[in-house]
């Protein structure tokens, strides 16, 4: 019984610290899709969202708003992604309206949202599918 308890204790501690260190990668790997955003954005704006490593954003001629979504470990699953409005100074537009977003932004975001309206607020948490 004592040996079994010691084994359980070791497994428990390894699990806790393992998930603590690797949880972010696990969450990013199994990252659920965004199903709900700010209502105005989904009503008036055409929102595109996708996980990395998709780098090309197609949104036509209108200049969009881009929100960087960062996985915030201090929040619950319901409010996992922290939205931050960002500028895209190095965005390159081609003739077809494709925008190649700065690789720096992509590298430092877990997900980005592109929309035509400014409905989303800076610093809001985005709900994700349960």
């Amino acid at each position: 019984m004592k040996k079994f308890s010691i084994a359980c204790l070791i497994i428990f501690l390894i699990t806790v610290f393992g998930f603590n260190l690797g949880g972010q990668y696990i969450r990013a790997f199994f990252s659920p899709t965004v199903t709900y955003m700010y209502p105005e954005l989904t009503t008036y704006g055409e929102a595109f969202y996708w996980s990395l490593p998709d780098a090309t954003v197609h949104f036509g001629e209108t200049e969009p708003y881009i929100y960087k979504l960062t996985l915030d470990d201090t929040r619950t699953r319901e409010q996992a992604y922290y939205a931050q409005k960002i500028e895209i100074p190095n965005a390159v537009y081609d003739d077809q309206g494709n925008c190649f977003v700065d690789s720096y932004i992509l590298k430092n975001s877990d997900m980005i949202i592109v929309g035509y309206t400014d409905a989303m607020e800076d610093g809001m948490y985005v709900k994700i599918k349960n």
């Binding site: 004592k2 308890s5 010691i6 428990f12 998930f19 972010q24 199994f30 201090t74 699953r77």
Partner: protein, 251 residues
């Protein structure tokens, strides 16, 4: 079997069921939805996982450091005669008797002054110098025969050697028991984090469990996980704890 022993057995079983019911219900409800509440705890609700890690770090660090310091303090109280020893010990007991809320405000001020406010150090540092462990160990060390220490003195002059090689093995069950009690005290602390910390990400698990507003499968799973570590430690050191309680009764 006599009728009286049957009646007593029935009473004992009823009382055992009453005491065990909350734990059994909690475990049962945490498993009703399968393992998903546990997956949520470890993967999708990082706040709770981080809180559990904070609890483990704070509890282990505090209890180990408490034992290290308390053994030395207890040796001085039990085996070294110096002027003011009994007054100092009396002051220790006074602090032990005092409700811990009394010392929370000074702890808050001191932690702000020395810059450990809102860090895990704010929970660890005051916990290390809790008066409970030295008092308990002092009482145990008083039963170590002076002749044994004097005999050891013939071999070595190092007090540290005498403590580690003679006294610690002698009162080992007592040290383990004190360590478990100190661990449980830190593990279950709710008021201290509330006073000494601000950031939610640095709070221990018990703080979050104390602030639960919803009662669902996930919350029950969190409660079960919070019980697991103290339970495992108790199971591992059960014989030492029981032995120590037995020793205390004999004395």
């Amino acid at each position: 079997m006599k009728l009286s022993s049957i009646v007593i057995s029935i009473f004992i079983i009823i009382f055992a069921c009453i005491f065990m019911a909350p734990v059994v219900i909690t475990i049962f409800l945490s498993c009703t939805d399968g393992l998903s509440p546990y997956v949520d705890f470890f993967v999708w609700e990082p706040t709770y996982l981080y809180a559990l890690t904070n609890s483990i770090i704070v509890s282990f660090t505090t209890s180990f450091a408490t034992i290290l310091i308390s053994i030395l303090a207890a040796y001085v109280f039990a085996k070294v005669k110096f002027r003011g020893c009994s007054i100092l010990f009396f002051l220790y007991i006074m602090i032990l008797i005092m409700p811990f809320q009394v010392t929370l405000l000074p702890q808050y001020i001191v932690s702000k002054k020395i810059g450990i406010y809102d860090t895990l150090g704010a929970l660890i540092l005051p916990g290390i110098f809790s008066p409970f462990a030295p008092i308990l160990l002092t009482q145990m060390m008083k039963f170590v025969p002076n002749e044994v220490i004097e005999a050891a003195r013939l071999e070595t002059n190092s007090t540290l050697c005498i403590i580690t090689q003679i006294i610690v093995p002698f009162i080992r069950p007592g040290i383990i028991c004190t360590w478990i009690l100190s661990f449980s005290e830190t593990w279950n602390a709710v008021a201290e984090p509330r006073f000494l910390m601000e950031s939610l990400g640095k709070m221990p698990l018990m703080y979050h469990l104390g602030n639960l507003t919803e009662v669902g499968f996930f919350e029950f799973a969190a409660v079960v996980i919070s019980m697991l570590l103290p339970y495992l430690l108790f199971t591992i050191f059960k014989s030492e704890i029981v032995e120590n309680i037995g020793m205390a009764k004999l004395k």
